[in-house]
């Protein structure tokens, strides 16, 4: 049975759930059956947010089992690694933003936020492939960090294993999000930046 599992890992307020719903809607348009497991609740107060998105021909349980992860979409590096520790395997491709969101304790200087290079090399040992992008420059040009989720959707759109055509993903975004000009720019920048990133 065809099955493709995506985990969107991030921090409350990054638009994680919207990201999941856009991919799910695009999957529907492609004739797949999405099942989404959302974790939220207290998450708006700066906590970890994981969205489990499962694409198949029939309904699956809401949580991705260990080792069954195909695509790890990382909106934040630390949370990407947290997701990988739980679910990744050699079949996993991680595509992540390297922009950190500090924790209350790292902000306070009580613990050190891990070095990005250490996170990336850890991800390399846990996943089959990783692609890291730094959206700072592109998003500064667009003028807001709030479209990071759309930027990252652009980054995964170019991935050859994703069973959703990038045109369909883009069209779905256009139909579901407001202020399309900004989102379009973010989507296209994400697509371009990931293509230029080292494999």
């Amino acid at each position: 049975m065809m099955q493709y599992n995506i985990l969107i890992a991030g921090v409350g307020g990054q638009g994680n759930l919207v990201c999941g719903r856009v991919i799910a809607e695009a999957a529907l348009r492609q004739g797949l059956r999405p099942t989404i497991g959302e974790t939220f609740g207290a998450s708006r107060r700066g906590g970890t947010v994981f969205t489990h998105l499962r694409l198949a021909e029939r309904d699956l349980g809401p949580l991705i089992p260990e080792g069954q992860l195909d695509l790890l979409l990382g909106l934040e590096p630390l949370e990407t690694l947290r997701g990988a520790v739980k679910l990744a395997s050699s079949r996993t491709t991680a595509i992540l933003s390297t922009v950190r969101v500090e924790t209350p304790e790292s902000l306070a200087g009580k613990v050190a936020y891990p070095k990005i290079d250490d996170i990336l090399s850890s991800l390399e040992t846990l996943c089959g492939a990783i692609r890291a992008v730094d959206p700072t420059e592109s998003l500064e040009k667009i003028g807001t960090m709030k479209v990071l989720n759309t930027y990252m959707l652009g980054a995964i759109a170019g991935d050859s294993d994703l069973p959703i055509k990038s045109a369909i993903l883009k069209e779905t975004l256009k139909d579901t999000l407001g202020s399309w000009e900004i989102n379009k720019a973010a989507f296209e920048a994400g697509m371009k930046d990931v293509a230029q990133s080292a494999h």
């Binding site: 059956r33 107060r45 309904d59 790292s106």
Partner: protein, 629 residues
């Protein structure tokens, strides 16, 4: 993203909660009353959003007990109703539940939806609410998928109407908060007309025991219906030697675990009618099986019923049982496919083999991971209150105890452990009213209770009246941000703005009518002024109440308020004492303040800062400032 009003015959991507709301529309329900609580909130929210369109009455009640009472009133008058709540809400409503079950719910029909939260993702406890179905002798249904969550509501309402008892539908977090394609059914022509005559004798006295007998007879009738229910189904070959009996979302986990392990000699039974348990169905399923696995969240509710049946029928020799009771499945926490896989392997006498390399990589990654605790938003005034309380505690040389309550301000437990206790809605003032009597036994600490505005109405009034009446030595802080922030900004009686048919109830007027020994309304935005006020008030005798005007930054953002016209907060790096101080970042801990390790100075995170200026008062060296507006 069409919401719950998609066309009959079509499909929609609905969450478990939205599916339940859609089911309520398809069932013809006309009345919804609820109190918000994760993971149940979106059921009532979804119904509220379409209430005008479908002629539904939907309210956020003051608490779950009132919600259940309101729904029962509607059902008694012939109006089909739905009452949704989280696990802890049913505890609040249970006093009424265990009376109304005997009285009967009348002709309208009443569906109670309770959403449990295994692992307590968004709860102060981990509980299994299904035991209320047993305690109240009421039918209990557990859907396994979003589709079933929708389909089961009309089914539940039908049982309720025919037997005139409420039917409990139980969901758990992963069903309520998952989304899948749901095939939509017909919407009936909604025709709700209230009976002007209520049935006679809607009470249990003078013979509650005879009502109990009648209820047991209703239970037997429902039991017979459940024996024939097509909701319970079994897959796989009946020649298999093993069966997994699973309820709720555990069924999906069991199904996938069997598939991943490639187990063939195994059947899967999906039990949806969990109480009263369809014993003959279970006997039929188990017959000829050597091994019986029971998968459910949270407690061994079904398992214990089956084990007691096994005892009666002397099955010990013929079947081996695997579940929570003998530790094959952990008796606490959530289930998932991996936990089920582990349990099935254990049953087979093996263990999950994790390759050494993967384990090494995971351990190495784990060692660099840091936790991400929840925290107050930038500019949240709750932080100011706890900051001030910590200051006062220092001034009192630690002689202060804080009894906390349920809401965003519960996060005080993560903020320098600012509160000593935090259990249930309203328990802060109740616990404080007891502690406030202990001076006679040598208890020397000053006592503070903290609660929010929605919680004040929900459960604090009896505790506050008790504290006043018994002359308890307590300071009660009401953090009034005018919204139910934790669950997504639902309005409550004290909210600043009210719907056109609803009237505001003033917290201030309610408190003043109780006439505490001291009352003051104050602003929570200035940590310095707050510290002095708290210190002064806590030092007074008797019952003191401070109503603190607070600000929810998320609610402000939602309402479109911006802070960009306010002057920027700045840090004077000359005046800052750097490493030797760090009070702003490491003690006050607003997430808009970060520590720059290279420069050894704090910095403002511009895109997070809401320019409230609370941190200005926190710096002992006047290094933080704000320009003129």
């Amino acid at each position: 993203m069409t919401g719950i009003s998609g066309k009959p015959g079509g499909t929609s991507l609905l969450s478990g909660n939205e599916a339940i709301a859609r089911g309520a529309l398809e069932a013809g329900i006309c009345f919804s009353a609820s109190y918000p609580g994760t993971p149940s909130t979106e059921i009532a929210t979804a119904l509220m959003e379409v209430s005008e369109r479908y002629g539904l009455y939907a309210e956020w009640s003051v608490n779950e007990k009132v919600a259940l009472e309101a729904c029962t009133g509607a059902s008694w008058a012939g109006i089909p109703s739905i009452c949704s709540m989280k696990s802890l809400g049913l505890n609040v409503a249970s006093d009424f539940l265990l009376n109304m079950n005997l009285s009967g719910s009348g002709p309208g029909g009443l569906v109670i939806v309770v959403c449990d939260d295994p692992r307590g993702h968004s709860s102060s406890n981990e509980q299994d609410s299904r035991f209320y179905a047993k305690a109240s002798y009421l039918p209990l249904l557990e859907p396994s998928s979003c589709q079933q969550a929708k389909d089961i509501i009309p089914f539940a309402l039908d049982i309720s109407q025919r037997h005139q008892i409420p039917v409990i539908v139980r969901s758990t977090t992963r069903l309520s908060h998952s989304r899948a394609l749901v095939k939509l059914g017909q919407m009936p022509k909604r025709k709700c007309t209230a009976n002007n005559e209520l049935a006679k004798g809607l009470y249990n006295v003078p013979n509650p025991h005879l009502r109990h007998k009648e209820l047991d007879e209703k239970r037997s009738k429902v039991h017979r219906e459940f024996e024939n229910s097509t909701l319970n189904w079994i897959s796989g070959s009946d020649k298999a030697d093993t069966i997994i009996i699973a309820s709720g979302v555990s069924f999906k986990y069991a199904e996938e675990a069997v598939e991943l392990l490639g187990l063939e000699n195994i059947q899967l039974g999906n039990l949806v009618t969990s109480h009263p348990l369809p014993l003959n169905t279970i006997i039929e399923w188990i017959q000829g099986k050597k091994r019986v696995v029971i998968a459910e969240e949270v407690d061994p509710f079904i398992e214990e019923e089956i084990l007691s049946l096994a005892g009666e029928l002397e099955w010990g020799e013929r079947h081996q049982f695997y579940g929570k009771r003998n530790g094959f499945i952990p008796f606490y926490g959530e289930l998932n496919t991996d936990v089920m896989k582990q349990a099935l392997l254990k049953m087979e006498g093996t263990d999950l083999q994790v390759p050494g390399e993967r384990k090494k990589a995971a351990d190495a990654a784990q060692s660099i991971l840091i936790p991400r605790p929840l925290t107050f938003c930038a500019g949240c005034t709750h932080r100011n209150v706890y900051w001030a309380l910590q200051k006062v505690k220092q001034r009192l040389k630690g002689n202060l105890v804080v009894a906390g309550d349920i809401g965003c301000y519960s996060l005080g437990v993560f903020y320098g452990e600012s509160m000593e206790t935090m259990q249930s809605m309203g328990s802060g003032i109740g616990v404080a009213s007891g502690l406030g009597q202990l001076y006679r036994f040598g208890f020397e600490k000053k006592i503070v209770a903290v609660a929010g505005d929605s919680t004040f109405f929900h459960a604090c009034l009896p505790g506050l009246v008790n504290a006043k009446h018994k002359n308890a030595e307590v300071t009660f802080l009401i953090l009034d941000n005018s919204t139910t922030a934790m669950t997504g900004f639902q309005p409550h009686p004290g909210s600043r703005t009210q719907k056109k048919d609803e009237k505001k109830v003033s917290i201030e007027a309610a408190v003043k009518s109780i006439a505490p020994d001291f009352y003051q309304r104050a602003d929570a935005s200035d940590p310095d002024a707050l510290t002095d006020l708290l210190h002064k008030t806590i030092g007074m005798k008797g019952l003191k109440v401070l109503l603190l005007d607070s600000v929810c930054r998320l609610e402000e953002a939602r309402l479109g308020e911006t802070y960009e016209n306010l002057p920027e907060v700045t840090i004077d790096s000359e005046a800052c004492r750097g490493e030797s101080c760090k009070i702003c970042t490491s003690k006050f801990g607003c997430i808009a303040l970060t520590w720059n390790a290279e420069k050894k100075r704090p910095e403002i995170v511009e895109h997070i800062c809401v320019r409230c200026g609370a941190c200005i008062a926190v710096c002992p060296h006047d290094a933080i400032g704000q320009g003129e507006s």
